[in-house]
């Protein structure tokens, strides 16, 4: 929370003095501060940003403008950093000891695919098509957060000013210890009034925001585990928690609600102590270098251990011999020349981490809090300190409390300051989502972890969050929302699965690019965008190969979502729109025939045929590589053929008998059906099944994606399809008319399904209708996610496995069937939802 350290003390306008001097006077040496070396590299690659008069003046103050020209040429990769500045408003800045975080709100205009029913009365249908697809410009709100070293602050402010086209913003919210030092510079450069906000308030606001809106925000750090980062599932209720902010000193804050928090304690032994004392002891100036020294040292030569006093352990107290009895206890007696810098730094690191951990535990115990988050520059992105703090917390609480860290910890202040300034927009009434395409991911600027990414964006780290159109909430039918984990396999932990899926997505990339291009045949620059998409997504995949933890737990879902975000980024909102359209049209023609043949069956036969229909329909999936190959090579691959492809019973997972028995019983009150693909799947598989449910007297709520993902049917498309079917089918027509068949959007735009982030309206309908059956269809929604989801009512998960690797893993084969009918164990209470 407390900041220091500015290289240029004499001239507060010019933060580059130190950099310039170094560069002008000497060739690079190993003793160069890393950021200097980096600045130099950047300068070499740079395209120059137009020099500002202010900079020229400033240059005059320091003999010779040459080096300032060079300083000035520290250039930002403009297509990545500070995007969407044209529409930016509501700026906020958080200036810390070494890093600046800039936040702004902008609106992003991007294309969306909309479907619209042809008005058949107004004009002669020129084609057989049921609906038309239009590309519309839609405006969505996005939050941008950029983090960079303080050395770049002037360049960045210039850049922002030069690109800020159209803004009526007058104020910039500022926080952080450096805010007052740069106040004048910011006001002059941007022409905005600096409005300072309390640091701790901003921090807490930011923390609440990320905990609420970013899944997998918090993680446990386990140095020696297979995956160092163990991400926590989002809790329905984030309060109360303890935030231990380790800046120069330590502040311990208890947060009880959005607006209620209290600094319950603190300590003066913090990051500043490590840095200051470390600098004195080791003559090493930089914080990062001190940490590096510490990570190489052995503290046992400096510290007095229990075994140094006891010769072994102190058994009666359970203190093992390796515990530190007295930090630096050996340095008073031993030969002083004998201590290496590394050893002293290590001892100091342990001393400070243990001390903070101990205090945190005492406060957590006193206030009965079990969620303890750590932040501040001492922690930020440093595995070394996360490890020592974790160790300390484990020791002092005997494992009862886990130290939690945050992926976006460095942004909390900036987010909070931004939120303070945006209160009139009511940002907290919306749900926000991390945009994987525009965010750098955890550890992006850690030099040894990802050299590739570093070369691309230098020291710039970004977070972008999209405002979701609707507020997202938990499905009220989850048995235990706090323990619900959508994803079936965590690829962060499962290295084999990770390797396969990353390979799989990379292999599929060409096809996706082709598909994207094909969806916009008349737009000339589409090829260029498609290529950019390819590069971006490939780069994301490469990053994830090295840092599977970059965006929280890596899952098939996150890989799919990242692809959707990247497609949207380059204005390919719906690559499958035309295919979906074609297939919907084709399938509709077959609907009546399909229904008719089902009607002819006996009740028993029909129930089975309906299930087989849903499963066969689900084979039609462009998202699965095995199938898309077939689909592409053989467009005649028909519904009947699909049925023949299906595995014979007994299926891989087969509870059809139980389901059949259940059908003999009373009808369900209301079924919630999460649908999957367009075309055959929805029209010939799902709709007849729904029709039967309706005929039984069960109300049906069809939940489909809010926006496109692969060939999944969207809510917009489903509206039109349902109307067309209603026109042909009196059962559906009546149900629509009587409001027994309802279409809702899921709030999702993913081929997978996170039941903890669903549209608020859906949740409301589910409650109102007293839903007692949830049907989840498809590999993405019922296998990659939700396979183990426990619901408080009956559930049916149906999918065909269209991936041989996955089939193999589950002990089946290609086109194996999962039919999982579950009834919650007796005693599960859901009073609000059980019809009485």
């Amino acid at each position: 929370m407390i900041n220091q350290f500015f290289t240029c003390q004499s001239c507060c306008q010019c933060q580059f003095k130190g950099v310039g001097k170094t560069r002008a006077s000497e060739i690079p040496t190993l003793t160069d501060a890393p950021h200097v070396a980096r600045a130099r590299t950047l300068a070499r690659r740079a395209r120059s940003v137009r020099a500002s008069p202010t900079m020229a003046e400033c240059g005059g103050l320091h003999s010779g403008s040459r080096r300032h020209t060079m300083d000035k040429s520290i250039t930002l990769p403009p297509d990545e950093i500070f995007r969407n500045l044209e529409n930016a408003k509501r700026f906020a800045i958080d200036i810390g000891g070494s890093l600046t975080k800039l936040a702004y709100y902008s609106t992003v205009q991007h294309k969306v695919a909309k479907v619209r029913s042809f008005d058949h009365t107004a004009k002669e249908a020129t084609s057989d098509e049921l609906y038309e697809i239009t590309m519309q410009e839609e405006v969505t709100a996005r939050l941008h957060f950029i983090k960079f070293e303080n050395a770049y602050i002037e360049t960045c402010l210039d850049f922002v000013r030069d690109h800020l086209v159209n803004t009526d913003t007058k104020v910039i919210k500022a926080t952080g210890g450096g805010a007052h030092k740069f106040k004048e510079l910011i006001e002059r450069k941007l022409g905005l009034r600096v409005d300072k906000e309390d640091e701790m308030t901003c921090l807490i606001k930011g923390c609440n925001f990320v905990l609420r809106n970013i899944p997998h925000e918090a993680f446990v750090y386990a140095k020696h585990a297979d995956s160092e980062f163990r991400f926590q599932t989002t809790q329905p209720d984030i309060f109360p928690y303890l935030l231990v902010n380790i800046g120069s000193g330590v502040s311990i804050v208890k947060v009880e609600s959005e607006d209620k928090f209290e600094r319950i304690g603190g300590s003066s032994i913090g990051g500043g102590t490590f840095w200051g004392l470390g600098a004195l002891l080791t003559k090493t100036k930089r914080f990062d270098e001190l940490l590096q020294l510490a990570s190489k040292g052995q503290h046992t030569s400096v510290d007095m251990l229990v075994k140094d006093i006891y010769g072994g352990s102190y058994g009666s107290l359970g203190l093992t011999g390796d515990l530190i009895a007295s930090s630096f206890g050996k340095s008073a007696t031993a030969d002083k020349g004998g201590f290496s810098k590394e050893d002293m730094a290590k001892s100091l690191l342990h001393m400070i981490s243990n001390d903070i951990g101990q205090l945190a535990c005492l406060y957590a115990k006193l206030h009965s809090l079990s969620r303890v988050y750590f932040g501040g520059f001492f922690i930020r992105g440093h595995p070394v300190t996360m490890h020592t703090i974790t160790y300390s917390i484990n020791f002092f609480t005997k494992g009862e409390v886990q130290a939690l860290f945050l992926r976006h910890e460095g942004y909390l202040g900036a987010i909070g300051a931004f939120l303070k300034g945006a209160e009139e927009d009511n940002p907290n009434q919306y749900s926000w989502g991390e945009n994987y395409a525009g965010s750098s991911g955890l550890m992006s600027v850690s030099p040894d972890m990802n050299p590739m990414q570093r070369a691309r964006s230098g020291t710039f780290d970004m977070l972008e969050m999209d405002r979701l159109e609707r507020k997202l909430v938990n499905l009220p039918l989850l048995q235990d929302a706090s323990s619900y984990i959508p994803d079936t396999v965590d690829l962060t932990e499962d290295a084999l699965a990770r390797e396969y899926w990353l390979y799989c997505f990379e292999e599929a990339l060409d096809g996706v690019v082709k598909r994207a291009l094909a969806s916009q045949p008349d737009i000339p620059e589409a090829a260029e965008r498609a290529e950019k998409f390819r590069q971006k997504y490939r780069h994301k995949l490469q990053t994830l190969r090295h840092q599977p933890f970059a965006y929280g737990s890596l899952t098939v879902r996150s890989l799919l979502d990242t692809r959707e975000h990247c497609l949207n980024e380059f204005n390919f909102p719906d690559p499958y729109s035309k295919i979906k359209q074609r297939e919907n049209d084709a399938a509709l023609k077959y609907y009546q025939k399909a229904v008719q043949s089902l009607e002819e069956l006996s009740w028993e036969e029909r129930q089975f045929a309906l299930v087989r229909g849903v499963l066969a329909g689900n084979v039609f999936d462009w998202g699965a590589k095995a199938v898309s190959d077939v689909l592409e090579s053989d467009p005649e691959f028909g519904f009947e053929q699909a049925k023949r492809q299906l595995e014979e019973r007994p299926w891989l997972v087969d509870s059809y008998d139980e389901w059949f028995e259940r059908l003999k019983g009373p009808p369900h009150k209301c079924a919630l059906f999460f649908v999957d693909n367009s075309g055959v799947d929805i029209i010939l598989g799902v709709m007849p099944f729904v029709r039967e449910l309706l005929s039984r007297g069960t109300e049906v709520v069809l939940a489909s994606n809010s926006s496109p993902a692969l060939n999944d049917v969207t809510n917009g498309e489903l509206q039109i399809l349902t109307e067309s079917i209603a026109a042909m089918d009196p059962v559906i027509r009546a149900a629509l008319g009587e409001d027994r068949l309802t279409l809702v959007q899921s709030g999702s735009s993913s081929p997978c399904l996170d039941l903890s982030r669903l549209d608020k309206v859906l949740a409301m309908v589910v409650r109102e209708r007293k839903t007692d059956l949830v049907i989840i269809e498809g590999m993405g929604r019922a296998i990659h996610t939700n396979y183990y989801a426990m619901l408080s009512c009956e559930s049916l998960k149906m999918a065909v496995i269209k991936n041989s690797w996955l089939a193999d893993r589950l002990g089946g084969k290609l086109f194996s069937v999962v039919f999982k009918y579950e009834v919650p164990a007796a005693g599960i209470d859901s009073p609000a939802l059980t019809p009485s």
Binding site: S248, S268, G272, A279, M304, A325, F328, A332, T333, D355
Partner: protein, 445 residues
């Protein structure tokens, strides 16, 4: 309460050593709790009176009383361990040694006394320094104390743990093993050096738990008082440097107390009775850390030197205060501008590093360590719901900067709820406790 007679009769149950040899009826019948294992402490005034002048009491009184007394002393004598009586606490940095010098040695006894026993007694009592590093804290000597029926002076000696090998060597040279005494030792060194004592000096240590000894010794010294003066003290008006004064006190009704023992490291105990206590926590930031860091930062070599420097320094040149960051108080959180925000926080800047003195660094180190101990102790007191916090350990020796700071920190942060107490024999309670164990164990035949 036991009467003197019952003490004698039930000595097996109550322990054989007597802090009180006074025959006065008031002493025996009024107080009675004269045994180490006793239950309640004597009121200070009375204790003061009782612990002195035993000899003349022996000669006075009625024949019946004298005979009763003789019976008692003899019965005790039968189970008394042979001299010399030592209690030893071998810590991480210092060895603390208490030595009981009998002053009631009869001529007959003197004749029987073996030569090396005499020489030990003479060596210890006629010197105040031993070798280069051994020191006798003369000002702490407890005079005319009666233990186990014998009257004598209790001497307090310390030397660095590093000198332990030489000490053991001396034990061998003086043929200590021929005296057939049990060497009661506590502290980690009792375990670490056990084998050296055995192989080098043919001595068997009786190893004792350091926390047991600490509590027993502390309660004993408080009970017998410091040569008639209370053992404890506190600071009145700790928040005000002008009117802050040291006041003596005894530990009346000492339980529960939070006992903070600051040696090389720190142990924090919640004590509910002499035998019922738990170690709440500890920290490795203790006296050893202060001295260790001071040596590295200033090149000093001894605790005394480090404290001397610290007394002259100004920690605000080294530490970053709240006002250095906020320009004044941080009112939102009720933090005073003068509070330390970041210990050594100024040292992040090179200019500041180049401009501070060694004295400033020593002071900052002392303040940092002390405040941290105070902070942890306070949290423990709150968590354990204990209002009395007693600080002991050799870190506090000649260290008024720390004692005052601790008193201030307890008072300020608890808004007057907690009181910090200190004891004059700071670091010696473990050794005293070990000696008491010697006198106790000898009762078993």
């Amino acid at each position: 309460m036991d009467t003197a007679e019952s003490v004698v009769d039930k000595k097996g149950a109550s322990g054989p050593f007597h802090v009180n040899n006074g025959p006065s009826p008031r002493g025996f019948h009024g107080n009675g709790s004269c045994c180490g294992g006793g239950s309640s402490p004597a009121a200070p005034e009375e204790a003061h009176h009782l612990h002195r002048g035993g000899e003349d009491a022996e000669c006075n009184g009625s024949p019946a009383k004298r005979s009763r007394l003789r019976r008692r002393t003899e019965s005790v004598k039968r189970n008394r361990p042979p001299f010399p009586w030592f209690g030893m606490d071998i810590g991480g940095t210092l060895v603390k040694l208490v030595y009981f010098e009998p002053v009631d040695v009869t001529a007959e006894e003197e004749q029987e006394e073996v030569e090396n026993l005499k020489s030990i007694r003479r060596y210890l009592t006629s010197n105040v320094a031993y070798g280069k590093t051994g020191v006798r804290d003369v000002h702490l000597e407890l005079r005319n104390l009666t233990m186990c029926g014998r009257t004598g002076n209790l001497h307090f000696i310390r030397f660095p743990t590093q000198a332990m090998p030489r000490f053991i060597q001396m034990g061998r040279d003086k043929n200590f093993s021929s005296l057939h005494t049990t060497l009661c030792a506590t502290g980690g060194g009792a375990y670490k050096f056990e084998n050296d004592f055995r192989t080098m000096a043919d001595l068997e240590l009786l190893k004792l738990d350091e926390l047991d000894c600490l509590i027993r010794g502390l309660l004993f010294v408080d009970r017998v008082s410091f040569n008639g003066h209370p053992e404890g003290y506190y600071f009145q008006n700790p928040s005000d440097t002008e009117s802050c004064v040291k006041k003596t006190c005894t530990l009346d009704n000492p339980f529960p107390m939070l006992l903070v023992n600051i040696g090389s490291g720190v142990s924090i105990l919640a004590v509910y009775s002499e035998s019922d206590y738990k170690r709440v926590t500890g920290t490795s930031l203790g006296g050893g850390t202060f001295l260790g860091l001071c040596c590295l930062l200033t090149g000093c070599e001894t605790f005394e030197e480090a404290l001397e420097m610290a007394s002259k320094g100004d920690s605000t040149n080294v530490d970053k205060l709240v006002k250095d960051i906020y320009g004044g108080d941080y009112e939102r959180f009720g933090l005073q501008g003068s509070a330390v925000a970041s210990s050594f926080g100024h040292m992040m800047s090179k200019e500041k590093r180049d401009s501070i003195s060694k004295e400033d660094l020593a002071r900052a180190t002392l303040v940092t360590i002390t405040n941290n101990i105070g902070s942890i102790a306070r949290m423990c007191a709150v968590n354990e719901k204990i209002e009395r916090v007693v600080f002991v350990g050799n870190f506090l020796r000649i260290n008024t900067v720390s004692t005052k700071l601790l008193a201030y920190a307890m008072d300020f942060w608890s808004k007057g709820q907690l009181r910090a107490l200190f004891l004059e024999h700071e670091g010696y309670f473990g050794a005293v406790g070990a000696l008491m164990e010697l006198l106790k164990t000898s009762e078993d035949p």
